[in-house]
Amino acid sequence: MPPDRAPYDVVVVGLGLAGLVAGLGAASGGARTLLVGKGHGTLRFRSGTIDVLGYWNDRSLGSPAEGLPAVAAERPNHPYALAGEDLGSGLEAIRTTAGAAGLDLDGSLEANRMVATAAGTLRPTCLAPPTMRADWDGAHVLVVGLAGYRDFQADLVASVLPAAGAKLGLEVEARAATVDLPSLHRHHLSGLELARLFDQSAFRRDLLAALRGTLGGATVVALPAVVGLEHAPEAAADLARQLGVTVAELPTLPPSVPGLRLELAVTAALRRAGARLQVGTFVRAIPQGGRIGWVEIQSPGHPLRVPVGRMVLASGGLASGGLEVRLDGTLRETVAELPVWLPEAAQGALVGRSFLESGGHPVSLAGVQVDGAMRPLGREGSPLYENLFAAGGLLAGADRAVEKSADGICCATGWRAAQEAVA
């Protein structure tokens, strides 16, 4: 017998950006909210920027706003075509929450800005921490590597960056320096250990002393995005002030420090708003009549059955385990066994010929189809469950890697799903 009193108004499955935005939307509206996920969400290995729309139809976009009408017109099942109106609110929810923790996210839908990557290339994003929003045009960049940190090669960045700038019509000069300090001589040096070092003023003092002689006429000092974890804004401001130049952070390989900063800020806000977060268990949604009756949390020994008022499914796409490819090439949705839509082009040919296919892979468009209220649709096109709403990477119709649209989709659909779930 399932318990008959729902302890939560909203159960969110998935702890990535879409789940967290949905959680914020539900909890801030006063709903008793449980967020549960199989592991931590992808923020910890994304770059801490909010990409909304960088490219459409092979064209680089000066602003997301410029491309959104075309998306809605050309691809009716694209998440922006369905929930684009809530994009602003979703972005604002993340921006306000991060800002309250001292992590500003600058930018607007009216402009894309170029952020530099650890490979020295430049890519468009919409919202980014101030430390990633350097003005590259005309910049004299000193790229600073840290000895022993293998995930960031200053020489590589400095040799690629000018050409990457030139392609976009930007004039960038760059040279590299690698700093060696005794405090870097650790057995294991990842971005996390570095971020904790940057949190300490003593480390920053040593770094400044080592940099002063090499600064030359640099106007921008580019560092791997490891400038502080708990005291990141203070660490970056301190360095910029002491050096008298712009400090730019370049997102690196995971563990992603800026992504972790953002996740910790949002989850702390969720806990303050009274939401409960549970990390580590797979979840199944159990239908009961025309609704989801309860979720079965796969705890060791016996499942925990939590009765469901409303449920937001934000379990992610193929890379996150929300979708799975079967051996026969068909796809399944792993939590509620929802039907998965696959574009015709993908049938029999899920992927293209090379890993970084410029036009994307057909399978990227696959996912769960929803209506404007984010309710998953059955094969015949009508909503399957009255109390189930889906958001984020799980949704069909977008090639996030090619469009650079993953985070914006999470914000728009996560927010819309939460609004519908608390309505």
């Binding site: 592991g39 563990p255 020994g301 016996h302």
Partner: protein, 412 residues
């Protein structure tokens, strides 16, 4: 559609291949930030696992505290902590188990001996030179928080607690060695709370769950205890009763470690795992069904710390869910993965300092909340937390017992 292909493989060992090197485990490991002696769960777990077949096992695996934060954080389902526990046992198999580990595992034997001679044993443990002897033999640093032996076991006190006349439900209580020999008050509180909720409680035959053996690398000893517990507890479960525990590390061992760490697979082990519940998990279920009203007040500022081993149960924080509904309580969650103690880890020689450093965020959180008491479901954690924070650390069931006793006294 064709029949699925079934591979006869060990799911835990195979899980290492699911690692996509996303590093999420390294972002949650509480040991990694405080010492260079441990390379972090990614290297120690799935990466080192590839080199472990037939080769000597590296020694740094012993710095894994076994808190399980990595396994919980992994979005790809890699059982990092379980791989580490197995590797540690293999390391000791090859190098021999140190005497201090052998002694420290035997919580049941130590408890039985100690509680028989409680005044003398406690004098020895509280007395400076006595602790020097303990440090030399057990490898437990003289500053580490040791509990006192109780005079008379919980089993003897249990019989004096009245049972409900017409219980709605009957359960078998797995009290664990700590409750039996060191802290019978926790067991007494548990039985009072359960009986007041209309649950009939019996105390079946039981043995140490074996966790101290597992964490000290003695799988042979652990398996013997597991078999003994299976024999003792299955009849309880087969008679339709749940086995209910208050120590979340004991219950996790029965539910999870027997299978995933000791490799004891099979239907009877699944039956055991399915029948074991945490006391608050059961109480919360009753509350969700509308069969239990807490209806009491506890005017205290409480920091609730869900211990690492409770987190691996994957049932959330049932104690906090219930305590939070008490009137007058100012309850905050620690939001911290691990206090540092992680079972007997924080009691062993050089790991004492690591455990202390791991615990600092928890201590800061207690200060920030201006807590008067820390509630925590695991015994070794409570002893460690008392020392970390200078605050009393109590089992949440003691707090609920206190609130209900107060309500009874004032005739609410």
């Amino acid at each position: 559609m064709s029949e699925p292909i079934l591979f006869n493989v060990d799911e835990v060992a195979l899980s290492a291949d699911r690692c996509i090197k996303c590093n999420v485990c390294n972002t949650v490991c509480p040991v990694l930030p405080v010492t260079d002696l441990f390379p972090g769960p990614k290297y120690c777990g799935p990466q080192a696992q590839r080199f472990r077949s037939g080769h000597p096992v590296e020694t740094w695996v012993d710095y894994c505290s076994g808190c399980g934060a990595c396994s919980r954080a992994c979005p790809s389902g890699v059982r990092v902590a379980e791989l580490n526990a197995r590797a540690r046992a293999r390391m000791f198999e090859q190098r021999g188990i140190p005497l201090k580990n052998r002694l420290l595992s035997r919580s049941e034997t130590l408890g039985r001996m100690g509680s028989k001679a409680a005044p003398l044993a406690n004098f020895g443990l509280n007395f400076g030179p006595g602790r020097v002897v303990v440090e030399r033999i057990l490898g437990v640093p003289r500053e580490a928080p040791l509990p006192s032996f109780s005079q008379g076991s919980f089993r003897r006190r249990f019989r004096r607690i009245p049972q409900p006349e017409r219980p709605n439900l009957r359960v078998g209580y797995f009290c664990g060695c700590t409750t039996n020999y060191y802290e019978p008050r926790v067991g007494e509180a548990a039985v009072r709370v359960l009986t007041r909720a209309g649950i009939g409680v019996e105390l079946p035959e039981q043995h140490c769950c074996g966790l101290p053996f597992i964490s000290n690398g003695d799988f042979k000893g652990a398996r013997k205890l597991a078999e003994a517990n299976l024999k003792a507890l299955l009849p309880v479960i087969r008679s339709g009763k749940r086995v209910v525990a208050t120590s979340t590390s004991c219950s996790l061992t029965l539910k999870h470690e027997y299978r995933e760490v000791l490799g004891l697979y099979g239907p009877e082990w699944e039956e055991l795992a399915a029948g074991v519940y945490d006391a608050f998990e059961l109480l919360r279920e009753l509350a969700w069904q509308g069969e239990l009203e807490l209806d009491a007040t506890l005017t205290q500022r409480v920091l609730y710390h869900g211990p690492c081993q409770l987190r691996s149960h994957g049932f959330g924080f049932p104690a906090a869910d219930l305590l939070g509904t008490l009137g007058g309580i100012e309850l905050a969650e620690s939001g911290v993965e691990c206090c540092g103690s992680a079972g007997t880890y924080g009691f062993k020689g050089d790991k004492r300092e690591i455990a202390f450093r791991v615990g600092q965020p928890l201590a800061a959180r207690a200060r920030e909340h201006r807590a008067e008491v820390v509630a925590c479901d695991s015994e070794t954690c409570r002893w460690h937390i008392q020392q970390l924070t200078g605050l009393p650390a109590r089992h949440p069931i003691e707090l609920l017992d206190e609130a209900w006793s107060q309500a009874e006294r004032t005739g609410d």
